[in-house]
């Protein structure tokens, strides 16, 4: 027993270290391995400590579980990761609820059924069940089984409030009075399951990650309360860890998406879905933040900077040089692609970049640079538009058809910064923005570059 507990503490320490390392790109993979070792230690310690365990049943369960988990994990496509996380999470919550329920049935009616025990069991069952159904709905939405659009109906909020309140009332009553009737217990399970559904269903696809993160936090809470039920340190510490870190992660994500946490918790998110659509009707683009751009650039070896009129408007010449210098300090090759008509006067970009003391050797003109895009990891387009419009290559009806352009789309990733989806000088839309390998980062070029610079520094 002593050793088991020491093993648990050790496992908890490994979990802490693992999560810590997961929050930096350089150490994340190691972190995950560390956590999994912790888990192994906890499991082995548990198996050893209860000598009389029915190994057959346990082995059976673990083998089934491992096979299912592994198949899912191997088969899943990269794009389906979020729903995988959701469904795994649901199983975790379910497991906690089941354990608590098992304990309930064992202790039910015996003298051991203290108020504390009942209370923690109910908490664990309630949160675990909610996590289970909520996660399944999230999975269904992301996988396309259920409409990804927010499903809204009149009185939804009232229903949610009603369910939540009745759960609270029932839970409190049962805890204080001691359970009188098994139906009450089942009632709690049913209401929790319902609440999981009703809370998740109104949320749109784009906001799902936040919800999954929140549900993740819930499954930690469920594990922790199960820990109280069993008076088990491993569950308490790990559950609390996951609960707290998941909560923080959720709020970080909310901030990143400009949502408030209360909105998410009370199911008001996702009513407007702004990550596709927008002003340019036909173009379906991906928009992201400077953090993401920094991450992508961190992984690149060669970066080509494509300045345009917008860079001049923003007077971001110094900011762009700073970013370039940072990238070079990180060991990347940096070039500038100067289109002959970028800007509003011949040599506009030269004047601009000369002012910021960008070395002449880094400036490449159209002929020199176009062959460089092929093996370029990231092209970052700063306030340029017409000069990178692929329509000039193929769309004979376009007013710019025939103009030589910078072939930024040939590079692995194109990061495009401008303020809006408005067209440039020629007044035409740019299909580049909707390409598979394009990412828009909206904002004034100077502000964007300043933020990018900060984010790059943090990564290096």
């Amino acid at each position: 027993m002593q050793y088991t507990n020491i093993a648990y503490v050790l496992a908890a320490v490994l979990f802490i270290l693992g999560i810590k390392k997961l929050s930096s790109p350089k150490t994340a993979r190691t972190g995950n391995t560390i956590s999994s070792i912790g888990m192994l230690i906890a499991i082995i310690a548990t198996l050893i400590s209860f000598e009389l365990l029915d190994f057959k049943i346990i082995a059976l369960g673990m083998i089934i579980g491992a096979i299912i988990g592994a198949i899912f994990a191997i088969r899943v496509e990269m794009t389906q990761m979020p729903q995988m996380v959701a469904i795994f999470n649901g199983f975790g919550g379910g497991a906690s609820a089941l354990v608590a329920a098992a304990e309930f049935f064992t202790k039910y009616g015996t003298s051991e059924q203290t108020m504390f025990l009942t209370g923690t069991i109910i908490l664990s069952v309630f949160v675990g069940t909610l996590t289970l159904t909520g996660s399944f709905i999230a999975f269904g939405k992301l996988q396309g089984f259920i409409s990804g659009q927010p499903i809204v109906f009149p009185g939804q909020k009232i229903l949610n409030a009603f369910l939540a309140l009745s759960l609270l009332g029932l839970g409190t009553f049962v805890t204080i009075s001691g359970i009188q009737d098994l139906n009450m217990f089942y009632g709690i399970i049913i209401i929790a399951a319902l609440l999981g559904v009703t809370l998740t269903i109104p949320i749109g696809g784009a906001d799902m990650p936040v919800v999954i993160s929140l549900l993740n936090s819930y499954s930690g809470i469920a594990a922790a309360s199960t820990g109280f039920v069993l008076m088990n340190n491993a569950l308490i510490i790990s559950g609390a860890l996951v609960g707290a870190s998941g909560f923080i992660l959720t709020s970080i994500m909310c901030k990143g998406m400009n949502r408030s946490l209360t909105n998410v918790i009370f199911g008001a998110v996702g009513l407007q879905n702004d990550s596709s659509g927008g002003e340019a009707k036909q173009i379906n683009y991906k928009s992201s933040t400077t953090d993401e751009a920094a991450m992508i650039m961190d992984a690149a070896d060669k970066v080509i900077i494509v300045p345009g009129y917008g860079l001049a408007v923003a007077q971001a010449q110094h900011a762009v040089r700073e970013v370039a210098e940072q990238l070079e300090a990180m060991g990347k090759k940096v070039l500038y692609a100067i289109h002959p008509v970028a800007g509003r006067m011949p040599g506009h970009m030269n004047v601009l970049l000369a002012e910021a003391n960008v070395p002449y050797e880094q400036l490449k003109d159209l002929d020199e640079i176009n062959s460089e895009f092929e093996d370029c990891d990231v092209a970052i387009v700063l306030g340029a538009n017409d000069v990178v419009n692929p329509a000039a290559r193929h769309d004979t009806s376009s007013p710019i058809y025939g103009m030589p352009i910078l072939d930024v789309d040939k590079s692995r990733t194109v990061i495009i910064n401008k303020r809006t989806m408005n067209p440039g000088f020629a007044g035409i839309q740019n299909e580049l923005f909707g390409f598979e390998n394009s990412i828009m980062v909206f904002g004034d070029a100077k502000e964007m570059l300043t933020a990018l610079h900060k984010d790059l520094k943090e990564l290096s």
Binding site: A11, I19, K20, L22, S23, G31, N32, M39, A42, I43, F50, D54, I57, I58, G61, M62, G65, A66, G69, A73, I74, M78, M81, M84, V85, F88, N89, F91, G92, A95, S96, L98, V99, A102, E103, F105, T106, I212, N216, A223, T226, M231, N232, N233, A234, I236, I237, A240, L241, V242, A244, S245, G246, F247, L249, I252, E292, I296, A299, D455
Partner: protein, 90 residues
């Protein structure tokens, strides 16, 4: 005293949970979520215990719980690892 100690442990663990995640870049949100989710599969410890200590019902509920929790652990850790592999530089 026991109760208090456990509470103390809980509070300290929550503190650590709050502290260790400071500024995660958005690209790591999903792996981080996935990785910490796998940890919540610690319920497997409870499930194993439940198969023994919680009588007949416990054994069966426990079995299901073991399956569930194992899915969570195994799947969670593996999927996280796959995601993180993508971040490796070429």
């Amino acid at each position: 005293m026991d109760m208090i100690n456990i509470l103390t442990v809980l509070i300290l663990a929550i503190f650590i949970g709050f502290e260790i995640i400071t500024k995660v870049p958005p690209t790591l949100h999903t792996p981080l979520m996935s990785g910490s989710n796998a940890i919540s599969g610690i319920a497997i410890v409870g499930a194993i215990i439940a198969t023994k200590v919680s009588g007949e019902v416990g054994t069966w509920l426990g079995l299901i719980a073991v399956i569930f929790a194992t899915i969570n652990c195994v799947g969670g850790f593996m999927v996280t690892d796959r995601m993180l592999k993508m971040f490796k530089r070429k």
